[in-house]
Amino acid sequence: MTPLRRRAPIAGLLVALALLAAACGSSSNSSNSADASPTTGAGKDYQWVMVTDQAGLGDQGFNDLAYAGITKSAKDLGGTGKALESSEQAQYVPNLQQAVDDGASLVVGVGFLITDAIVEVAQASPNAHFLSIDNVAADKDGTPLPNVASVTFKENEGAYLAGVIAGLTTKTNKIGFAGGLEIPPVVRFLKGFQAGLKSVNPKATVNVAYVGGFGDAAKTKELAAGYYDDGADIVFEVAGAGGLGAYEEAKARGAGHWVIGTDTCKDALAPDNFLTSATKDVSGAVEREAKAVADGSFKGGVHNLGLAEDSVGVCQKTFGSLPKTIQDAVTKATADIKSGAITVPAQ
C-alpha cells in the first residue's frame, strides 16, 4: 500500500500549478512592464506614458481606448508614447513610479483599481502630472489631488441622445433597460436615457431590469427575450460583456428588434439590430489632458466631461444611416444640452 503522505506533494504541486495558471489568466500579458511599441512624433521631447490595469492592452475597452489617446498625443504633440502593462495589482505602484522616474510628461492610469496607487505615487511626486480615468484620485480627506486630473464622464448626456433616437424609432412605445448591477454609472445611463426618451415621445415607457452581474450573456439573453415577448421593440443594454446576449436574442428574432449598446459602437455584434450606442470617448480625454500639459494649462482636480467637451455621445459610425428626422432631433438636443437649455438628470 502506498502511503498517502508520499502522494500529497503531487496534488499540492498540481494545485499550485492551477493557481499559477489562474494568475496568468487574469492578465492578457504576463510580462512585467513591456514597452508597447513606442511611437515617436516630431517636436518636443514629451513622454506620454500609460499604466494599464490587469486587463492590459487588447481589451477593446478602456485600456485600448486610452492607448489610442496616447498614440495620437505623441503624433500630434510630439514626443513618445508608451504603455507599461501591469499583470497584477502589486505592479501598479512600481509601474507608476517608473513612469515618473523616467520623466514622463503625463502619467495616465486606467481603471478603478489603480486609483489608490495613483494617489500614493502622486502624493510622493508633487511635480509630476497624472491622469486618472473614470475615478477621482483624492487624499484622505476627500480633496482631489492638485497634480492629478481625474476625468469622469457624464454618461447621462450621451444616453439622453440615445433616448431621443429610441423615442423616435420605437413603434410599440415599449422599451426595456437591461443593466448589469445598479451602480452609479449604470444609473446615470438609465436616467439620461429616460429623460431623452420622454423629451421626444412622452407615451413611451421604459421597464428596468438587472441581470445581477456584468458577465452573464445567457441570462441577459433571457432578459431581452422577456422584453421582446412583452412587446418591447428596443432593449438598452448596460450589461458589460454579458450584453452580448441581448444582441443574440435580437438577431434570432430578426429585423425590428433593436438593441442600444454602451461605451463603444457594437454594430458588429448584430448589424441589422444595432440601433446606436451611448459612447464614452476615453481616447479623446487622454488627448485633451496631454494637450493641456503641452500648452501649460494642465490643471488637477475633477474634470467631469460631457457633450460640451465632445467626450460622450452616440455611435458616430452608424449615425448617418439613421433617418434624417432622427439625426436632426439628435443634433438639436446636442445643441440644447451644450447651451444649457436642457439639463440632463444624472440620478
Binding site: 500500500m1 496534488a11 498540481l14 486587463a55 421597464n207 458577465g215 418591447a232
Partner: protein, 307 residues
C-alpha cells in the same frame, strides 16, 4: 401578470434549467459512485471553451459539441486520477480543476482569437424541427423550440434512473458509493467503476457548459458559466441524489429564475435585488419545509483502499 405567466416563461425556464440539469446529473453519477465532484463548474467552463474553439476551427457546431464532450471526459479522468488513484482529498483536487479552468480558458482567448475576453461568433445549434408538433395546443410551441441538448437534458432523468436502478452497471455504481469494500468483496473492480462514473460526470458537466456557448450565445466569454456548476451541485443535493427529484430541483431553479427575469421585464414593482434572489429563496424554503433531510451516499468522499 399576463405578461409574465405565459408559454414563453416555461420555454425560458427550460433554457435556464438545461445547463443545470446536464451538470447536476453529472454530479449525481459521480457522487453515487462515492466521489464528490465540486469540479462541475470548471468542467462546464472547459466544455464551453472547447466547444467554441472546435466549432471555430471546424465551422461545425456538432464537432464543437463532440470536442466539448471529449474535454469533459478528460477532466473527469483527471479528477478520477486525483481522487481514486492518488486518493487525494476529493475537494482539493476538484478545486484545482476549477482554478485551472478559469485561468486556462481566460489565458487562451487572446492567443487563439487575437482578442481578449470574448471569442468571435461560431456556428450554433438550432431548434429541432419536429413535424406537426407546432399544431399541438400549449406544448406545441415549447416542443418546437428546443435544441438537441435541451432534449438530452430532459431525457436524463428517466435514462439515469433506468441505468442506476435497473442495470447491473447501476447496481455496481451505487455499491461503490454506499460500501466500496463490500462491493469489492463480490469481485467488482471499485476503481474501474469509479473511474467510469467520474469520467461520465465530467462529460455531462462539459455538455452543460457547451449548451451555454454553442446553443445559447454562440461565443465563449471569460467565466461565462457564472457559478452554474455550483448551483447544479446544490440542485443535486436538494434532489437528494435521486434522478426524479434532481430533475424537479433543476426545473424549480430554472423556472424561478425565468419568473424573476420576466417579473422584472414586465415591470413588477418589487426591488430587483429581491427578485434576483428568488430562485435561492424558493430552494431554501422548499428545503426547510417539505423536502426534509438530505441523505448522501454513505461512502461519498471516502477514498477506497484496496486490501
Amino acid at each position: 401578470m399576463n405578461g409574465i405567466l405565459s408559454i414563453n416563461l416555461v420555454l425560458s425556464g427550460i433554457y435556464l434549467s438545461t445547463p443545470l440539469l446536464l451538470a447536476a446529473f453529472g454530479g449525481l453519477l459521480s457522487e453515487r459512485a462515492g466521489v464528490i465532484n465540486i469540479a462541475l463548474e470548471g468542467q462546464m467552463l472547459l466544455g464551453a471553451f472547447a466547444g467554441v474553439a472546435a466549432a471555430w476551427w471546424t465551422h461545425s457546431a456538432v464537432l464543437g459539441l463532440l470536442a466539448a464532450l471529449a474535454v469533459g471526459a478528460l477532466t473527469g479522468l483527471v479528477h478520477a486520477w486525483f481522487s481514486v488513484t492518488l486518493r487525494t482529498d476529493q475537494i482539493v483536487g476538484a478545486t484545482a480543476i476549477n482554478l485551472l479552468a478559469v485561468g486556462l480558458t481566460s489565458a487562451l482567448i487572446q492567443p487563439i482569437w487575437g482578442q481578449p475576453g470574448t471569442s468571435p461568433s461560431v456556428p450554433k445549434f438550432g431548434r429541432i424541427d419536429l413535424p406537426l408538433v407546432q399544431h399541438l395546443p400549449f406544448v406545441g410551441r415549447i416542443l418546437d423550440h428546443l435544441s438537441v441538448l435541451d432534449w438530452a437534458a430532459l431525457a436524463l432523468a428517466p435514462v439515469v434512473w433506468i441505468v442506476l436502478f435497473r442495470t447491473p452497471f447501476g447496481l455496481r455504481l451505487r455499491g461503490c458509493g454506499e460500501n466500496p469494500e463490500a462491493t469489492a468483496s463480490v469481485g467488482i473492480d471499485v476503481v474501474r467503476v469509479r473511474y467510469q462514473a467520474v469520467i461520465l460526470s465530467g462529460l455531462l458537466a462539459a455538455a452543460g457548459g457547451a449548451y451555454l456557448s454553442l446553443v445559447q450565445v454562440g461565443v465563449f466569454q471569460r467565466e461565462m458559466t457564472q457559478g452554474r456548476g455550483f448551483i447544479a451541485l446544490a440542485a443535486m443535493i436538494f434532489g437528494k441524489w435521486r434522478p426524479v427529484p434532481v430533475l424537479g430541483a433543476c426545473l424549480l431553479f430554472g423556472m424561478a429564475d425565468a419568473f424573476q427575469v420576466r417579473a422584472q421585464t414586465a415591470g413588477v414593482h418589487l426591488p430587483h435585488e429581491l427578485l434576483i434572489a428568488l430562485p435561492y429563496v424558493v430552494a431554501l424554503a422548499a428545503l426547510a419545509t417539505f423536502v426534509g433531510r438530505s441523505s448522501a451516499p454513505a461512502a461519498v468522499g471516502r477514498a477506497y483502499v484496496k486490501d
